[in-house]
Structures are given as structure tokens and as C-alpha cells.
Amino acid sequence: MLGFILRRAGLVIPTFLGITVLVFALIHMIPGDAVEALSGERGMDPARYARLVHEFGLDRPLYVQYLDYLGQVLRGNLGASISTHEPVLSEFLTLFPATLELSFCAMLLALLVGLPAGILAAVKRNTFLDYTVMGVSLTGFSMPIFWWALLLILLFSVTLGWTPVSGRIDILYDFPPVTGFMLIDSLLSGDAGAFKSALSHLILPTIALGTIPLAVVARMTRSAMLEVLREDYVRTARAKGISRLRVITIHALRNALIPVVTVIGLQVGTLLAGAILTETIFSWPGIGKWLVYAIQRRDYPVVQGGILLSASIIILVNLSVDILYGVINPRIRRST
């Protein structure tokens, strides 16, 4: 088992190095260099320019610059934001819990609705219910989520006035951040109103961000269930007189869940991409909004560091899914 984990973890290293090369290359493809960006519109005299280029090490060969960058990254130094002068890593760590909280709730919604919907559609195959679930999930899958978020705001915030439009919590409430997760922190503060406010701020972004994973989970669960329900052991179990409900939930579902777990792992990327749009619309102070702002302000250290960190998280999640998969299914553990 340990060998399996180590082998899988070993595969991650070249991917991570590849990402650092990619991010390094992206920034070097920007027209103009850091010195030109500093000098602004007024320009700079050539002597000073040459001195600064030397000072920043931009006159060294590219591979030396890359190795230097890689060394900095491995020591946890991702540079500082141009606009706030804060280290990129600490900004990321401050904002990440907000994105994590939102993504977690979105995934929870996707599972709580998507799994039962997929199971129902598979069990009631080719009925009106099946067609409805599949139609709705294909629509959800095709949904431009930034528009979907606007429609939700239009209906629930503007017309009905049920939920707030933006932010994580009402500015009335002030309590020390303990975990960075607003729901938990507001509970810890002991103020019921604060918790209610945090919850109501979370609802619409959760729906907007959770829609695509929900559709994917529902579709995947349905097709995995259909596959499993055809198996002999399901028929055997039924023939032995076990109730239909028990066969579906115990015998079939457990095996159908294996591909679904993979899909859930893959959705982490979707969630991070979706966070870029959702957070921008709901002014949710997470890394998605942070990245968009950084791009608009041409704050390249933040763009570079943010992309590297997001990609690292995705790699780590995929690694955990891989390992988890091996734990669930011994055949995979042995074959690789």
C-alpha cells in the first residue's frame, strides 16, 4: 500500500515541475519586462534601465532565471503583490478559506441533489421522470453560470428580497476569524443572527457554483447505476427475495459509486474555474475574485502565484482521489 502511494506521489513531481515551467513561461511571454512595467509611461533613461535589468537578474540566461524562480517557489516565496505589497502566499492563504467554504457547500449541494436524482432516473429508466432529470441536468451542464447567477439574484434578491446580493456576511457583525470559514466562525461567536446572515449570503453562490457539478454527478450516477443494475449479482440478490430498495441502495449503489468518486475528484477543477465567475458576481472575497482583480490590474506576481497555487491544489486533490481509489479498489492498487 505504501509503495502504491509513493509511486502515485512520485508521478506528481514532474507535473508540478511542468506547471512551474508553464507559469514561468507565461509570465515571460508578456510583451515588455518588469522594468518597463515599473517605469510607466514616462519611460526611463537607458543607463538606469540597464542597471535595473541587471539588479532584477533579467540579463541572466533564461534557465538560470527559471532555476532561481523554482528555488524561490520551493522555499515558499511566491513574490509580493504589486498593488498591496503583501506576500502572494499569505494573501492566498487568507482568501482561500472563503473559496473552500463556497466550493465545499457547492459540492455538498451537487451530491445531495445529484446522487438521488441520478439513482431515481436510472431506476425509473425511460419514464417521464428519467427524461426530466436528464433534460434538466443537460440544461444545467450547458448553463453559463455567470448568467445563471444573475438570474438567481434577479429572482431571489431583487424581486423577492429573500437573500442578500453580495459578500459573505452583513457588515453589522464583527467577530474574530478563527477558522476562516464564515459559517463556523459565526457559530463560534455565539450570535445566532450572525450565523443566519452568513448562511443567507452563502445560498445563492452555492446554487450558482453547484449547478454544473450537480448536473455532472446526476448524469454520471445514472449511467453508472444503469450499468450496475444489469449485472447478474443484482438479479441474484432480487431472486433471493431481497427488497428492491435494499438491492438498489446496498448492492447496486456501492459499486456504482466508484466512477462517481472519480468524477467528483475531477469537479474540483470545475469548482475553481467556476469560482472565478461566481466570486466576481457575488463579490465573494475568495481566490477567484482575487485572480480576476489581479489580471485587471496587471498584478503579475499574484497571477503567477495564484495560478501555481490553484494548480497545485488540483494536483493534490487528484492525487488523493487516486490513492482513495486504490484504497477502495484493491485491483487498481496491484495493477500499477
Binding site: P14, T15, G18, I19, V21, L22, L26, I27, M29, I30, L138, T139, F141, S142, M143, P144, F146, W147, W148, L150, L151, I153, L154, V158, G269, T270, L272, A273, G274, I276, L277, T280, L291, V292, I295, Q296, R298, V303, I307, S310, A311, I314, I315, N318
Partner: protein, 307 residues
């Protein structure tokens, strides 16, 4: 098909048509495709979109950029204060929504076409090289593709646009690059599958050169998954382009691109629902149509599901 197998002699199961020859593959494909109601609807919508895009100059009632200053934010025709001059109303500077949406179709399909062609051609070449030569070439190409896949598509696209600068053309490049790994991986897998077959060996023995083997012998046999992926790629491209436009990184105003139309109308969400609703609906409908079509094609091309 099942009825005919019951009534006719065994061995001529496929003989619903007059001759004994099996139906032409294309005809069979079409039969399976059109059995799928969703796929048929998807194809029909795509055809309408293509026609709208081609004949936008004749179909659109007004120009996409003409500003009717006396009629800013006019509601759609069925609502109080709406006029038949502007069927879907006007935007904050008095441009006709319907005309802008129709011209937007042209842009969205163009974005889809350019970025899919870009990633398809590059991806096919990379996949062929990897699958054909294996070894170091394969490792180098596929590792790079894995790295690109580790980044969420929109994040990578946003990063590329951030480097290249915002704009429609750069958005197309970005989306094309982002989709590249999917095509490369599909092609490689299909090529490796084909390489083991006898016809490849016999062509090689007959003296076919490397390029001929790659592009004329093997590639056509790998077309099925690529066609499906290309169709689904269209919907991804339209969606991502709209998202980039919405973030202000894609098409720039006054270009009638659906995503940027949405973004520029945001502040009017409370007073004029139509400026926000219709562009999004246009995106949804076209993405849905391509997805339906892609799903239908996949089912029709996948022999496992035909039984």
C-alpha cells in the same frame, strides 16, 4: 430492426433494405442519430444558428451598433411601452437587442469554429506524433498535455488572455490552446489502437511512407471520437468565450458578443430584465444545441450502445 430479425431468415438480419449488402455506414449513422429526438432538435437549432450567422445582414432588423437615442432601454414588444420596431427591446444606449443577438450568433460560431479548428489540427498532429512514434516523443508531448489538463480550462484561458491582452482574437487562441490536450489525448489513444491492426502493417509492407501512413491510412479511422469531441468543443468554446467576454477579457464593446453584452448591462439588472436575460438565453440555447448534437453523435458512433 428487431422486428425484421424476427420475421426474416437468420443471417440476413440487416436486410431491411432491398439488397443484401449492409447499409452504408453513413446511412446507418444517420439512422441512429435521427432516432435520438434530442440530437435531432440540437442539429436543427445548430442549422438555424448557422443560417442566422450567415444571413445576419438580411435577417437582423437593424445594425448591431446603431444607437436609437430616443428609445434607450425600450422593453420587448409584448410588454407595456414596447414597440414592434424593437421586438426584444433595446439596450442602455438604444441598440436593438434582437439585431445584436443575431450578429452575436456570427461571433459565437466564429469563435467556436476558429478555436476548435486550431485545437483540432494542432491536437491531431501532436496526438499522431505521440501515438505513431511512441518513446520519448510520446512522453514529452503527453506530459505537456497532462500539465495543461491540471489547470482548469477557464483559469488557463484567463491566464493566456492576461498575457496576450484582452480581445476577441486572443480569446479564440486561448480557448483553442486550452482544448488542445483533449484532442491530442483522444488522437493518441485512437492511433495506438489502430497501429496494432493488420491494415497498417500491410500498407507499411506495400511501401507507404510515414506521412501517408499517418494521415491517409490511420487518421481517417480515428475520426469518430474526434468528430464527437469537436462538436462538444464548440459548446465549450462558446461558453468559455462568453465567460471571458463577461470578465472583460474577451470581445470588447461595442462588439455584439453575448458575454460582453451581459457584462455591459449588469447595472440595469433591476430596471431592465431583458438586457440581461436574452444574451444569456442565447448562450444557453446554442451551448445546449451543440451538447445535444454531440451526445447524439457519440451514441450513434459508439458500437457498444447500438446493441
Amino acid at each position: 430492426m428487431s422486428e425484421s430479425t424476427l420475421t426474416e431468415m437468420p443471417g440476413s438480419a440487416e436486410a431491411t433494405s432491398a439488397s443484401d449488402a449492409p447499409p452504408h455506414p453513413l446511412r446507418e449513422l444517420m439512422r441512429y442519430f435521427f432516432q435520438n429526438r434530442g440530437a435531432t432538435v440540437g442539429l436543427a437549432v445548430v442549422c438555424v444558428l448557422v443560417l442566422l450567422a450567415l444571413f445576419a445582414d438580411w435577417v437582423a432588423p437593424h445594425s448591431a451598433t446603431e444607437q436609437f437615442r430616443e428609445a434607450t432601454l425600450a422593453p420587448p414588444v409584448w410588454q407595456d411601452g414596447g414597440s414592434s420596431k424593437f421586438i426584444l427591446g433595446t439596450d442602455p444606449v438604444g441598440r436593438d437587442m434582437l439585431s445584436r443577438l443575431i450578429y452575436g450568433t456570427r461571433l459565437s460560431l466564429l469563435i467556436g469554429f476558429v478555436s476548435v479548428s486550431l485545437s483540432l489540427s494542432l491536437g491531431v498532429v501532436l496526438g499522431l506524433l505521440a501515438g505513431f512514434f511512441r518513446g520519448v516523443t510520446e512522453i514529452a508531448i503527453m506530459r505537456l498535455m497532462d500539465v495543461m489538463l491540471a489547470l482548469p480550462s477557464l483559469l488557463l484561458a484567463v491566464a493566456i488572455v492576461a498575457i496576450l491582452g484582452p480581445g476577441l482574437i486572443n480569446a479564440m487562441y486561448a480557448i483553442g490552446i486550452v482544448m488542445l490536450p483533449h484532442f491530442a489525448r483522444l488522437t493518441r489513444a485512437a492511433v495506438i489502437g489502430e497501429m496494432a491492426k493488420d491494415y497498417v502493417n500491410s500498407s507499411r509492407i506495400a511501401g507507404a511512407g510515414t506521412l501517408r501512413l499517418m494521415f491517409i491510412c490511420i487518421l481517417p479511422n480515428c475520426a469518430a471520437p474526434l468528430i464527437v469531441q469537436a462538436t462538444l468543443g464548440f459548446s465549450n468554446a462558446i461558453l468559455d468565450a462568453a465567460a471571458l467576454g463577461f470578465l472583460g477579457l474577451g470581445a470588447q464593446p461595442p462588439t455584439p458578443e453575448w458575454g460582453s453584452m451581459l457584462a455591459s448591462a449588469l447595472e440595469f439588472i433591476q430596471s431592465a430584465w431583458w438586457v440581461v436575460t436574452f444574451p444569456g438565453l442565447a448562450i444557453l440555447i446554442s451551448v445546449l444545441a451543440f451538447n445535444l448534437m454531440g451526445d447524439g453523435l457519440r451514441d450513434a458512433l459508439d458500437p457498444k450502445l447500438k446493441q
